[in-house]
């Protein structure tokens, strides 16, 4: 390593080791250790926990949240928020199912579903940047609109009663519930997307501009960054990722459900926050968010594995959220 680095700060990016050290900055390391500790405890507590089958079930179960948290991490880094993810998941999955059910070629239907997610994301971004409605309000509105539209896609406007729609294409089923050897395909998708977007955020011009916008929007604008474009990009990417999650969720059970993804926005935000991303913007990482999602998934799994009363599960996830942020805040306090 030939870089001139004073003060022992981690190495800069640019080669593999640098990239790795950047992936696991101190903040992510904290939650990662928490996850490792949790996994160790669980492997002692239950003989079944460390079985590959169980581990793959856990990772498959978190893949939707993981994929959506990629987008939301970017949105939150820009200083925004997206509450509409769960609804975008439902509406995209439902449109895909409806089109397939109506006889459209499955892959074309999938493209339409992804396109719808992208479209919703674009609309979010445009309203936020051009009309200047705050992200919270815009996406809160979109949460309702998306959910409502998923009912419309399920039943038609006059419609009979809201219904689930079957989604029986083998390709789509593979996308959401297939296996490559013992590895669930959704896990492969999640890992690939996480790696790609982590690299993107850390090493591309647009990726760094996302951080700049959240760090100081005015300064970014004065530096010549097209702030609106950066924001629209983050919301649109979130939209298309939600679309993918929706199609996967439908493919898993061969059914697109109108209540799919309900409440997911809070799970996704919790994962991102546990992973060390600040809601104030300007910092955070996708790896952290995925570790956050993994912590929540392991806790949920633990309660089933150990026959613990479920009410404690909800409490413990709340405790984890607060602990994670509290530790982060203490760590920052020390740096001052």
């Amino acid at each position: 390593m030939g870089a001139k680095v004073e003060r022992g700060i981690e190495d800069g990016p640019g080669n593999l080791r640098g990239a790795l050290s950047r992936l696991f900055q101190v903040r992510e390391m904290g939650v990662f250790i928490a996850l490792v500790v949790l996994v160790c405890l669980m492997s002692f507590a239950s003989p079944y926990f460390l079985r590959p089958l169980n581990l793959f079930n856990i990772t498959r179960g978190m893949s939707n949240i993981g994929i959506m948290s990629i987008g939301i991490t970017m949105v939150i880094i820009t200083g925004g928020i997206d509450l509409s993810v769960g609804s975008l998941l439902a509406v995209s999955g439902m449109l895909t199912a409806r089109l397939m059910y109506g006889g459209m070629m499955p892959w074309l239907a999938v493209a339409c579903g992804l396109g719808l997610g992208l479209g919703f994301g674009l609309v979010n971004g445009l309203i936020i940047t051009k009309v200047k409605v705050t992200p919270f309000i815009t996406t809160l509105g979109m949460l309702s609109i998306g959910r409502g539209l998923s009912y419309v896609f399920a039943t038609g406007l006059q419609g009979a009663v809201a219904s689930n729609i079957p989604m029986r294409d083998p390709g789509v089923n593979f996308l959401g519930g297939g296996y490559i050897g013992p590895v669930p395909f959704p896990v492969v998708e999640m890992v690939a997307l996480v790696l790609a977007f982590s690299w993107f955020l850390g090493n591309t011009v647009l990726g760094r501009q996302i951080y700049a916008v959240g760090s100081n929007e005015d300064a970014a604008r004065l530096s010549g960054v097209n702030v609106d474009r950066v924001k629209i990009f983050s919301y649109a990417t979130t939209g298309i990722l939600c679309g993918l999650a929706g199609i996967m969720s439908g493919g898993l059970l061969s059914t697109a459900a109108t209540n799919a993804g309900e409440g997911n926005e809070l799970d996704v935000i919790a994962a991102v926050v546990i992973g060390g991303t600040s809601l104030a913007g300007g910092e955070g990482s996708i790896i952290g968010a995925v570790i956050g999602a993994a912590i929540m998934a392991v806790i949920r799994n633990a309660f089933v594995m150990l026959h613990l009363p479920v009410f404690l599960q909800t409490i413990s996830i709340g405790v984890v959220i607060i602990l994670a942020v509290a530790f982060d805040s203490l760590r920052r306090g020390k740096r001052r």
Binding site: V5, E6, E10, G14, T204, V205, A212, S223, G282
Partner: protein, 502 residues
């Protein structure tokens, strides 16, 4: 007069800009030659910052013309202006706090190689640039971790990196120590040698005359005149700016009283073994370089930061404040240096900002007594002649000088016995400055003890009854009135005499 003089890089003619009926610029002119350092001076609201924002593409003009490199131009976005070859270092530092120095320098025009940013190359280039501005720090540090003056230098390095033909510096040295200002001036001279033109906006007239080739003055959004620096005096410039003379001489203070505050061996984060005494009605100046530990000492005294060791005796009793609230209750008040971050509620109106520290005292039951709040803020509004449409205007929309007056008003409203002022004239114009000096003298005359932290030597010389000079966290000297000169202060402040070597 031709409109396209050959040696002119920038020509601004009759530029106008108004905000909601208020004229910020009413026909401003400016011409900058190739390789010239051109200073722009003017009071609050003279239109300097507005002009710089227009040239930087941050806002658009209403009318008038701008020629750059012989072509008429109009910048719609900051990006346009940067591409044309203009760099603006904005007055209120606009940095990306949570990002590295490299990213701050290259944000908005990062190169891309096969989709990725070539970090190694940028790192190398950044180290070179930092060297040019005299900074020897890790380019991966976050801006958060730098001092204000280091940030300022990074901003300048950023401007250098753009290979601009015109660099506009809006109050570049307002937070720099004398030493850092010297580095900056050397830098400006080397830019000039390379044929780069610099527009230098400042309130510090002595320095303006030292560095610039010509000076242009604005007043109330209009052009006053341009003079050659070599043949102008400080008084000439001040007269152009405010149309009157300014007293910058020490006024003997006869109201010295008995000792009110004794500090012995105070130690904490960033300062060691600090001792001093303060008399009733005395103006005690703390001089030194930026980072000498003056603000840290005062923050600890005020209860805002922890004290490791030492004694404080106030009104004959041993005291130590565990919170600013306690200090306030005991008659201390402190005006912080970074008013934007530490003092002002930018979105709230002037009235709320003035009354904020007083709210617990002016309530009726659970509710704030609005009438008394209004009365209180109106009193200081008038006493400090704050220039605003009304007490209901948001502080965000005021000039720096008026914002500072609002902060002062808030603390004066608490009726302090000891008023600590940390760089109170930082970044404000000469007119407001002189008003603040008058105010300090008046308060001292009324028996308020003043601790004034200042990095500006003329300010220390004009105000101090006595001066404490700090160097690297320790007291280097305590100077009586007779020994306060630029030379003695600088010698102690730079550690050339007296400072305990570590």
């Amino acid at each position: 007069m031709t409109e396209r003089g050959d040696d002119r890089l920038l020509l601004v003619k009759d530029l106008c800009k108004s905000y909601g009926g208020l004229n910020a610029l009413a026909g401003v002119c400016l011409d900058v030659r190739l390789g010239e350092v051109h200073a722009v001076v003017g009071e609050n609201g003279a239109g300097k910052s507005t002009l710089m924002k227009i040239l930087g593409g941050a806002i658009r003009r209403d009318s008038g013309t701008v020629f750059f490199k012989g072509h008429e131009v109009e910048f719609h976005t900051p990006h346009d202006s940067i591409r044309a070859g203009i760099s603006v270092i904005h007055q209120e530092l606009s940095v990306l706090p949570k990002m590295s120095i490299i990213e701050n320098i290259y944000m908005g025009r990062m190169p891309s190689v096969m989709g990725g940013v070539p970090w190694k190359r940028l790192e190398k280039r950044t180290i070179e640039l930092l060297g040019q501005v005299g900074l020897d720090i890790n380019p991966h540090l976050q801006m958060n971790d730098l001092s204000i003056s280091q940030r300022q230098l990074v901003e300048i390095a950023k401007a250098l990196s753009k290979d601009s033909s015109l660099i506009i510096m809006d109050e570049p040295n307002s937070s720099l120590s004398e030493h850092e200002t010297d580095t900056l001036f050397a830098l400006i001279r080397s830019l000039k040698e390379r044929g780069v033109s610099v527009v230098y906006v400042s309130h510090k007239i002595e320095e303006v005359l030292r560095i610039s080739d010509r000076v242009t003055a604005f007043k109330d959004g209009a052009y006053v005149g341009t003079v050659e620096s070599a043949s102008a005096t400080v008084d000439d410039i001040i007269r152009m700016m405010i149309g009157r003379e300014l007293t910058r001489e020490y006024v003997p203070n006869s109201s010295h009283g008995p000792v009110l505050l004794k500090v012995k061996g105070l130690s904490g984060g960033g300062f060691e073994d600090v001792s001093f005494e303060l008399g009733r009605g005395e103006v005690l100046c703390f001089a030194g370089l930026v980072g000498a530990g003056r603000s840290e000492t005062m923050r600890a005294l005020f209860g805002a930061d922890p004290i490791r060791a030492g004694e404080i005796e106030f009104e004959g009793r041993r005291t130590r404040f565990s919170s600013p609230k306690q200090a306030l209750q005991n008659g201390f008040a402190m005006v912080q240096e970074d008013r934007k971050r530490l003092s002002l509620f930018m979105n709230l109106d002037i009235m709320a900002n003035i009354g904020m520290a007083q709210l617990p005292r002016i309530r009726r039951g659970l509710a704030v007594d609005r009438a008394r709040l209004r009365e209180l803020s109106q009193r200081f509004f008038a006493a400090l002649s704050i220039k605003a449409r009304s007490a209901y205007q948001a502080v965000r929309d005021l000039s720096g000088g008026n914002q500072q007056k609002v902060v002062l008003a808030r603390w004066l409203a608490t009726n302090p016995k000891i008023l600590i002022l940390d760089e109170p004239t930082h970044g404000i114009d000469i007119g407001a400055k002189s008003e603040i000096y008058d105010l300090i003298r008046r308060l001292a005359g009324e028996g308020v003890s003043i601790i004034l932290i200042s990095s500006e030597l003329p300010e220390v010389i004009a105000m101090a009854d006595r001066a404490v000079v700090m160097h690297e966290g320790r007291v280097a000297a305590t100077l009586p009135r007779g020994e306060i000169t630029e030379h003695t202060i600088m010698s102690y402040a730079t550690g050339n005499i007296g400072g305990k070597p570590r």
